[in-house]
Amino acid sequence: MPATALKTVIVITIFAIGYMFFIIRKTARRQLDIYDLVMLSTVAIVPIVFAAFPQFAYWLANIAGVGFPFVVMFGMLFAILFIFVHRLTFKVHRLESDNRLMVQEISLLRQTLDHEEDKKNRIAQDGSIH
């Protein structure tokens, strides 16, 4: 069972720390919510775990009946990201519906306001004529 090269662990750790720092900062600025932070952080955490504990990767690959540990790692990442995208799809659909509804309501409201203003102007004009 080969150990992961130190260089690899360092590269992955740098990437993970950098990426975690980036998404935590986004969360702190309220550009991401906590759920997004948790899901996206797995992109950093999973490779670190696999790099730091290669035995764990082999053990999982053995259980899953997969020849190569990296397939397990990518499989896990794919599953997590799929759940994330699945949830986003629902969210986007709902937001799109809300957005359409708002566009319709605001446009109708504007038409009503314009109509009322026209009416007022006409009454004012008639008043000034008489």
Binding site: E105, I106, S107, L108, H115
Partner: protein
């Protein structure tokens, strides 16, 4: 008993060449129809021209034909109309034919009455692809929904009563709205009727469904209709 209030919904996008004549033709009918023009984010002078003749809503952004029609349906509900009739803004649907829809409703009150180009009236000419697509959609609807016997599911000329208005305010498809709204309405158990009407050829602008688009349109609509058949009815 007072006459029912009828609202004509005219969705349009870049119809500056046709909208004035259409609105003048409607007022020339002298049937007491009220109109609402829904300008779906036109880039030309449609809104300015239509506003001179009729209440006009300018959508803040382009929502597509489904979103525009649903805006008109919302307007009908909030202003207490008994019926709304959807017609195209390009002048293909002669306003004098609207009385046929109302007459059909008086005889048999179906919640939706479609103005059909093909029912007892095979004079309307279209490309064979479009006719084939329309027939395939009609056949699918009539097969999947036993109470359906439509011949022109893609017709953009249709009447809706209060029940249909109430339903479509909440649920109206944005893609391919004519056939899919029918499937949804049939799924809800609404009665759908048809009456033969004359339609004109488009005089201004071009249809957006050209080339191989009718085939793609048909396939997507068929998929949506099958989905409508298997999905649950919406809570009212």
């Amino acid at each position: 008993m007072s006459a029912p209030r009828v609202l004509i919904i005219i969705p349009c996008y870049n119809e500056q060449g046709a909208i004035a004549a259409l609105l003048e033709e409607i007022s020339g009918c002298q049937q007491g129809y009220e109109t609402i023009v829904v300008d779906d984010g036109s880039e030309d002078a449609t809104f300015q021209i239509a506003s001179r003749f009729s209440p006009t809503v300018k959508l803040l952004r382009n929502l597509g034909i489904g979103g525009a029609v649903q805006t008109g349906i919302r307007y009908a509900q909030s202003n207490g109309f008994d019926f709304c009739v959807q017609i195209d803004g390009d002048g293909q649907h002669p306003p004098r034919e609207i009385s046929k829809l109302l007459e059909a409703y008086r005889k048999i009150p179906s919640s939706i009455v479609i103005g059909s180009r093909y029912l007892q009236n095979d004079t309307f000419r279209s490309t064979w692809v479009r006719r084939f697509g329309g027939q395939a959609i009609a056949w699918t609807l009539n097969t999947l929904f036993s109470q359906s016997a439509v011949t022109d599911p893609t017709s953009g000329m249709r009447l809706m009563d209060r029940k249909a208005i109430k339903f479509f305010v909440k649920h109206y498809p944005h893609d391919f709205p004519e056939p899919i709204s029918l499937a949804w309405a049939l799924k809800e158990g609404f009665a759908v009727g048809e009456v033969p009407v004359q339609m004109r050829a488009r005089e201004h602008g071009n249809s957006s469904i050209i080339g191989i688009k009718p085939i793609i349109y048909m396939l997507r609509v068929l998929g949506y209709i099958v989905l409508a058949r298997i999905m649950r009815a919406s809570p009212r």
